[in-house]
């Protein structure tokens, strides 16, 4: 019966946010950016290509960072492709995927709450409270869902494995940890778990050891898979320190530097953290008609439980665990208010790479708070008044609490009617419950109503307040097309605070006349007869700008270029470089893809072939299948020598091992996911047969 009510809650949630599925409401903020990342990835992946480069993002950029953000190995991404295949538009497919992924997370939370609280009804309360808290709105305006769904399941498998050491739980832990590597969350949990359950910890450790001994190969394979899954992240981290890419809005470094760009500028951490988020959200609590994304909200029944629990419930181990763990994370999330963050920042190295401390509020503190409330409810409901006097005292207590809350709500700027209805229904629920007049079905129905009635109205306002017009967001629908000649004119400057770019391209945009640069970049391919070395530490901007403006027949290469190969063709050379248009006889396009471009060249003499797409050390060049030296040219682009005559010039991004690694990881993730489902079904069938 509880399952039916949980499904009803999920259906109601989907109904409330149906505007997104119907395409009437717009994703915003990071939600829109991630939509774009997913679309880009899925467009290529559905054709069997693993994209590593995006030529349209500031004239070319490696997208490993975006792929790490979306979790490109997550098998759930196949859902988008499946929905696409059955004819749904990409936007609808993506939103459906988000919905299903979110509800998968909520199903995991229900199982987790059930394991932790050991009480089905309060687990039900926990999942409905969380589903209808603002946890759910993060689906449409942020990327937190891609972290918290695997995190919830990780904790479920962890707890389940600690209670019953079975293979599928261990595999589940491995799989979700592969999707997720949030060590600071996990480690703080272990510290408090150890503090509150020292004996259980000892027992569990022995249990784990026994499991390892009996399943050596299985455990080793799982750990190996976990280790392999860390490789892309480690490689990207290494690349972030190479100086090739720049992420100023994250690192605060706007000039070329070898400092790791993943390191977060202190200003970002200090400017907006948990306290700011809570103060901002408090502006909306007294007027839910203004509810909007990124506002921390919990259904009013949660506040009722909090008030009832505060007076009537004592501290037990579970409450102590939730309270202390949540409080520490809360204090960590206050970087300027308390000295706790400073301590962690100084002594725990990975704190330098955590950008949004306020995400702790959404991803960890909110679920912990819900579990904390659910446990309070469980303890409170376990009270059994024996005498009439006790019953009367309890009733008076409940009336006082509810009346006090009603008075509190009446002081709001604009209270919404459903908040009062919640208070009345809550009083009715508790009264009937302690009177023993509630049958299970009616009790669940009443609980369902008391939790959902206010969010149902509040989210009605929410959907009115979010942007309604859906667009193509970043408008990058033409990323699979190549043209030699682009429209002339000033190139779009980088915004004052930009997120991600190749370092040398940012240097060009920051230092050059944008009209000159725009004219230069309107030609994707340019042929030169001569090259000249330049010192990257001492760039003569005027000289290069003049070269671009006058289309001089000299390309600039780094000073590592061999001095004996500077000259091109012999004899009198033309003054101007040769710009290649769409109807050029010398250079034509053979093929263009996300990770490569192939040209045919028919040149009268040896030429330095410049392809105005950003250079990166992972690019390789081939002439007639033979690998040749590729140079960073004209500060930011790609250039190579091509001999006279007919040749095929091929540029390719990524080494063979990178593709092999990515496809192997996809295979490993998919295999483990399939195996996890299979083992879970098998275990369930086995348990049913046993019963």
């Amino acid at each position: 019966m509880i399952t039916s009510f949980i499904l009803l809650a999920f259906a109601l949630w989907m109904y409330v946010f149906k505007g997104y599925v119907m395409g009437e409401l717009s994703l915003i903020s990071d939600g829109a950016a991630y939509y774009d990342h997913f679309k880009f990835f899925v467009d290529y992946f559905s054709r069997g290509i693993y994209p590593l480069w995006d030529a349209t993002y500031y004239h070319g950029l490696p997208i490993e960072f975006f792929l790490r953000r979306i979790g490109s190995f997550n098998p759930f991404i196949l859902l988008i492709m499946l929905f696409n295949k059955i004819g749904l538009a990409h936007f609808q497919s993506y939103i459906l995927f988000l919905n299903i992924y979110y509800l998968t997370g909520m199903a995991g939370f229900c199982l987790l709450a059930n394991r932790l609280l050991g009480h089905k009804m309060t687990a039900f309360v926990a999942v409905v409270l969380l589903s209808f808290s603002s946890f759910s709105t993060t689906v449409f305006d942020s990327y937190l869902i891609f972290t918290y769904v695997p995190m919830i399941w990780f904790f479920y498998f962890l707890i389940a494995f600690s209670q019953q050491p079975q293979r599928h739980f261990f595999l589940g832990m491995t799989f979700t940890a592969m999707l997720l590597f949030t060590t600071y969350i996990l480690s703080t949990f272990f510290v408090f778990y150890l503090a509150f359950y020292p004996r259980a910890f000892k027992r569990i450790s022995f249990q784990y050891w026994a499991f390892f001994k009996n399943n050596k190969i299985f455990v080793i394979l799982c750990l190996l898979a976990l280790a392999v899954s860390l490789i892309p992240g480690v490689l990207f981290f290494k690349e972030a320190g190479s100086g090739e890419i720049m992420m100023p809005s994250r690192s605060g470094v706007y000039t070329m530097s070898t400092e790791n760009v993943m390191k977060v500028d202190r200003i970002h951490i200090l400017r907006w953290a948990i306290l700011e988020e809570l103060i901002f959200s408090s502006y909306f609590l007294d007027n839910l008609r203004k509810l909007e994304p990124a506002v921390f909200y919990i259904p009013f029944f949660g506040i009722i439980i909090f008030c009832v629990g505060a007076w009537a419930v004592g501290l037990n181990k579970k409450l102590g665990l939730f309270l202390s763990w949540g409080t520490l994370l809360f204090l960590i999330g206050l970087p300027t208010t308390t000295p706790i963050f400073k301590f962690f920042d100084q002594y725990v190295f990975f704190f330098k790479y955590i950008r949004n401390l306020h995400f702790i509020l959404w991803m960890i503190i909110l679920p912990i708070l819900v579990l904390f409330l659910a446990e309070q409810l469980r303890v409170f409901l376990s009270y059994s008044p024996r005498s009439r006097k006790e019953k009367a005292g309890l009733f008076i207590f409940l009336v006082l609490i509810h009346a006090g809350l009603a008075f509190f709500v009446s002081s709001f700027t604009t209270p919404i009617p459903s908040t009062y209805v919640t208070i009345v229904l809550s009083l009715l629920f508790f009264t009937l419950y302690f009177a023993g007049w509630l049958r299970p079905a009616f009790m669940l129905a009443l609980l369902f109503l008391v939790i959902t009635i206010e969010p149902f109205q509040a989210y009605g306002y929410f959907v009115q307040n979010v942007p309604h017009k859906r667009g193509d967001y970043l408008n990058r629908t033409k990323y699979n097309k190549f043209v030699f000649g682009l429209p002339r004119g000033p190139v779009d400057p980088l915004p004052p605070v930009f997120y991600f770019s190749m370092s040398w391209y940012a240097f060009l945009l920051q230092n050059f006349d944008l009209a000159v640069l725009g004219d230069y970049l309107s030609n994707k391919v340019i042929l030169y007869d001569k090259v000249e070395r330049l010192d990257p530490k001492n760039v003569d901007i005027d000289k290069i700008e003049k070269n671009f403006k006058e289309q001089q027949n000299i390309a600039f290469v780094p000073d590592s270029y061999p001095a004996d190969q500077l000259a091109g063709s012999e004899g009198a050379l033309p003054e101007k470089s040769q710009l290649i248009g769409n109807d050029s006889k010398e250079v034509g396009l053979i093929s263009f893809g996300v990770n490569h471009v192939k040209f045919k060249a028919d040149l009268p003499s040896r030429k330095f072939f410049v392809y105005n797409d950003n250079f990166h050390s992972n690019w390789e060049a081939f002439v007639d299948g033979k690998k040749v030296d590729l140079w960073r040219t004209n500060l930011s682009f790609k250039g190579l020598w091509v001999p006279a005559g007919e040749h095929v010039v091929y540029f390719r991004y990524g080494k063979d091992w990178q593709y092999a690694l990515n496809f192997s990881l996809l295979a490993i993730f998919y295999f483990i996911f399939a195996r996890l489902i299979w083992l879970s079904f098998k275990s369930r069938r086995h348990a049913n047969e046993k019963n």
Binding site: L275, E276, I279, G314, T336, T338, I340, Q376
Partner: protein, 224 residues
């Protein structure tokens, strides 16, 4: 045995979550930096700030641009500024302006009164309610407000505006220099003198002898 029972009862009495919350609250009070909390409040208020204040400047010039929804947004913002700052003269002043355009004259007067109590040296906190009183036919009150306005120093208006975090965005929108703010006040001073005299004259007249003054009807409260 009895002692143990009493001990358990006392422990039971204090073993309440509210006691734990209280202890956490006390601990937080001692370790937290109060200035940082104030900075957090300001950061949160900044996020609540309407994208542009241009509309407020525009409606002050042209009341036909009336848009209730927009005005309510500003009212909400300035109310929150007051809630979290304990009341600021500039926020009350802006509230007065919004309420005037929403035709809620009582609230407008109340807001200007609070603003003037906090910052009596700001010309517009007297001139604007004077104008509202005048339009309402309360000439005595109008005259008193105009009189108070005339007693202020125009330079104080410039100083107040340049120091107010709420006025700065308005000035940025209009790229108004200090000199222009000063010129506006000086010009209004002249109007104010005439309005004060007119108010007292109207007040002296019998109700049936009073005639509408079209020039005054066209005047509206100003921001600066």
């Amino acid at each position: 045995m009895r002692m143990k029972k009493i001990k358990n009862q006392i422990f039971g009495l204090f073993n309440r979550l509210i006691v734990i919350y209280f202890l956490i609250g006390v601990g937080f009070y001692f370790i937290s930096d109060k200035n940082a909390i104030m900075t957090s409040k300001i950061a949160a208020l900044d996020r609540l700030r309407p994208e542009s204040f241009k509309y407020l400047v525009d409606i002050s010039k042209d009341p036909s641009l009336f848009d209730e929804k927009k005005l309510r947004e500003y009212v909400y913002y300035y109310q929150k500024v007051n809630d979290y700052s304990g009341g600021r003269a500039d926020a009350y002043g802006m509230l007065g302006l919004c309420y005037y355009h929403l035709k809620d004259y009582k609230k407008a007067i109340d807001a200007y009164t609070k603003a003037a109590q906090d910052t009596p040296q700001f010309f517009w906190f007297h001139y604007n309610p004077g104008l509202i009183y005048f339009k309402q036919g309360q000439f005595k009150e109008a005259g008193e407000n105009f009189k108070k306005a005339l007693a202020t120093n125009p330079v104080h208006a410039v100083v107040f505006i340049s120091r107010s975090k709420l006025y700065v965005p308005l000035i940025q929108d209009k790229t108004i220099q200090e000199t222009i703010v000063l010129e506006n006040v000086q010009r209004a001073f002249k109007d104010c003198e005439r309005l004060m005299v007119l108010s007292y004259q109207m007040d002296a007249l019998k109700k049936e002898d009073r005639k509408p003054v079209p020039v005054v009807e066209k005047l509206t409260p100003q921001i600066f």
